[in-house]
């Protein structure tokens, strides 16, 4: 056999082999795309269903509720009684007061606790096993608190603040119980924000002769601020939408609160009363619409702040 023949034979063989492989490959490729398309369709479908459910719920409340919402509805107080007549002015004010008071209690406590946990009591710096144990216990506590059903906080608030401490059904009792409810959220979001601050900032500041507290105050907290604010806004939303805690700590008075010892009802609580104890379902829908709009606005605020954070992170990595 001469050389040319041999080469020809080899090359034809090689050619048929590649042909076979490519046939198989093409089939496999088609199959892969089929799988991908099927998966994408499923994902797309679940997205669609989620949005649809959301639209139906919100749409239903809006369609039924928006016609009820007008200036009069927002600015007159509820009449009380079984009729459910009147507006929602006092409940808006109560909600606002409660959010402010709760934040006033929970924000300093939560941020303080988070700063302590991240900046002072980081496990790797602790020497004694007892302190380590305590810190682990606190972490466990915070995580457990975050998962506890809100009515438990309500019950606790009722027993401690309403009865034992004789604060009665009042804004004070409500905001103290509400603070317990949102503390875990604030602590955890603040902890995350603090941990996201690069260690090089801490080292840079300490190396310039700053104390640990100066470092926290002047470098770490300002850098973590957007994250902390996100946590605060999220917990504000939690207070606005919470019902169970305030059902057992705030009473249900529809009158305008005059001091921190006044009882009251928030928007969500009013909605609950309207739906359960009156026939004014259209008023309930109107209240619901206002509530939903408030929550949507709070979420938009969260989005806005998060975007600002991303922008900052982006600048810093340049």
């Amino acid at each position: 056999m001469n050389k040319t023949n041999l080469m020809e034979k080899f090359s034809t063989q090689a050619l048929t082999q590649t042909n076979m492989i490519s046939q198989e490959r093409i089939r496999y490729r088609k199959f892969r795309y089929l799988i991908q398309n099927a998966s994408f369709s499923l994902i797309w479908l679940s997205g669609l269903v989620t949005i649809l459910i959301l639209l139906i719920v919100i749409g239903y409340i809006f369609v039924k509720g928006i016609p009820e919402v007008n200036w009069d509805f927002l600015t007159t107080s509820p009449k009380g009684g079984l009729s459910g007549e009147g507006g929602i002015s006092t409940t808006i004010v109560t909600t606002l007061y409660l959010v402010l008071l709760t934040s006033l209690i929970a924000i300093p406590l939560g941020i303080g606790a988070a700063v302590y946990l991240v900046e002072y009591a980081d496990e790797k710096y602790l020497k004694s096993h007892i302190t380590k144990g305590i810190i682990r216990f606190i972490h466990l506590g915070v995580e457990t608190l975050a998962g506890i059903p809100s009515i438990i906080f309500g019950l606790f608030g009722f027993v401690l603040f309403v009865s034992t401490l004789h604060f009665g059904f009042s804004l004070l009792s409500g905001s103290l119980a509400g603070a317990c409810l949102i503390l875990p959220t604030i602590i955890r979001t603040t902890e995350e924000a603090l941990r996201a601050v690069p260690d090089s900032y801490r080292q840079g500041s300490l190396a310039l002769g700053a104390t640990t507290w100066q470092t926290i105050q002047k470098v770490i907290l300002p850098s973590a601020l957007p994250g902390i604010i996100t946590g605060i806004i999220l917990s504000t939303g939690r207070i606005v939408s919470e019902t169970a805690v305030f059902y057992v700590t705030l009473g249900g008075s529809y009158r305008m609160p005059t001091s921190v010892m006044s009882g009251g009802r928030t928007l969500a609580l009013h909605l609950f009363y309207l739906a359960m104890e009156t026939n004014a379902i259209e008023k309930a829908m109107g209240t619901g619409a206002v509530l939903v709009i408030t929550i949507v606005m709070i979420n938009l605020m969260v989005n806005y702040v998060s975007k600002k954070i991303n922008l900052r992170i982006h600048q810093e990595t340049q």
Binding site: G204, A210, K218, V219, S223, Q318
Partner: protein, 255 residues
């Protein structure tokens, strides 16, 4: 070698049970550039961070022997005032996410200077000292994050200068910079040595040769414990080292 500012006497460092540095006795002269060279993991940075006690941020660290600044024991001093006397520049530029002005004014401010005029003057002086003034003087309110890597590193040097330290520690200050920015930093180090004592850790032997007056060669074997092999005039270290390990390292036979 008169005029010693920093000194260690039989100085050792342990991370838990592991010994990172063993019996280092060395004297660093005032207003000179002292380079510390050696292979990775030989304890150069650990040694450098002795002088502003940054090692204490690492959990489980303990030391033996003595480390002195102006004949005062570093470990007896108030750590905050020590760090005002001994500034530091890190490997990666680490400006704060603040304006250029606020970055440089940070050190003086935490040390209690509030007078705006004094701060303005200090900031200008420091930026001139760090050879950055001409590039940034038009807008000191600009974010430090918008500067280039080399400019950020010079800003960090200016930030250290603003505290008016006696010593500046530099931990591979040009390791993350391009050659031109590196050149700027090296020129700057030469100029700064007129007024400041500079101790620089570097991986780059040419750099040590270019910028330093004295060079210390650290080395480690399988034990991973760093030891000082040789400390001398930079010229002597590079042309006529006494220890064969120094010679091998300088000539690039290992490391």
């Amino acid at each position: 070698m008169n005029n010693i500012i920093l000194e260690t006497i039989e100085y050792s460092v342990y991370y838990g049970k592991y010994q990172a540095l063993e019996n280092i006795s060395m004297q660093i002269p005032i207003n000179k550039v002292t380079a510390i060279i050696g292979p990775s993991g030989c304890g150069k940075s650990t040694f450098l961070r002795t002088f502003n006690r940054m090692n204490e941020l690492i959990p489980g660290v303990s030391v033996g022997g003595k480390a002195l600044i102006n004949n005062e024991n570093i470990f007896d001093m108030d750590v905050v005032s020590l760090r005002q006397r001994v500034g530091m520049v890190f490997q990666k530029p680490n400006p704060f996410p603040k304006s250029i002005f606020d970055n440089v004014a940070y050190g003086p401010r935490v040390n209690g200077i509030k007078d705006r005029n004094v701060l303005t003057e200090l900031v200008e002086k420091s930026l001139i000292g760090a050879a950055l003034w001409n590039e940034v003087k038009d807008d000191l309110t600009k974010s430090a994050m918008a500067l280039s890597g080399g400019q950020q590193q010079r800003l960090c040097i200016a930030r250290a200068l603003a505290v008016q330290p006696q010593v500046i520690l530099m931990d591979e200050p040009a390791a993350s910079l391009d050659p031109i920015a590196t050149l700027h930093i090296e020129d700057l180090i030469r100029n700064l040595s007129e007024k400041y004592t500079i101790v620089i850790v570097t991986h780059n032997m040419q750099q040590a040769g270019r910028v330093s007056d004295y060079t210390a060669f650290f080395y480690t074997d399988q034990s991973r414990t760093g030891k000082l092999v040789e400390f001398d005039n930079t010229r002597t270290i590079f042309t006529n080292p006494k220890d064969s390990r120094t010679e091998d390292y300088i000539t690039g036979r290992f490391g």
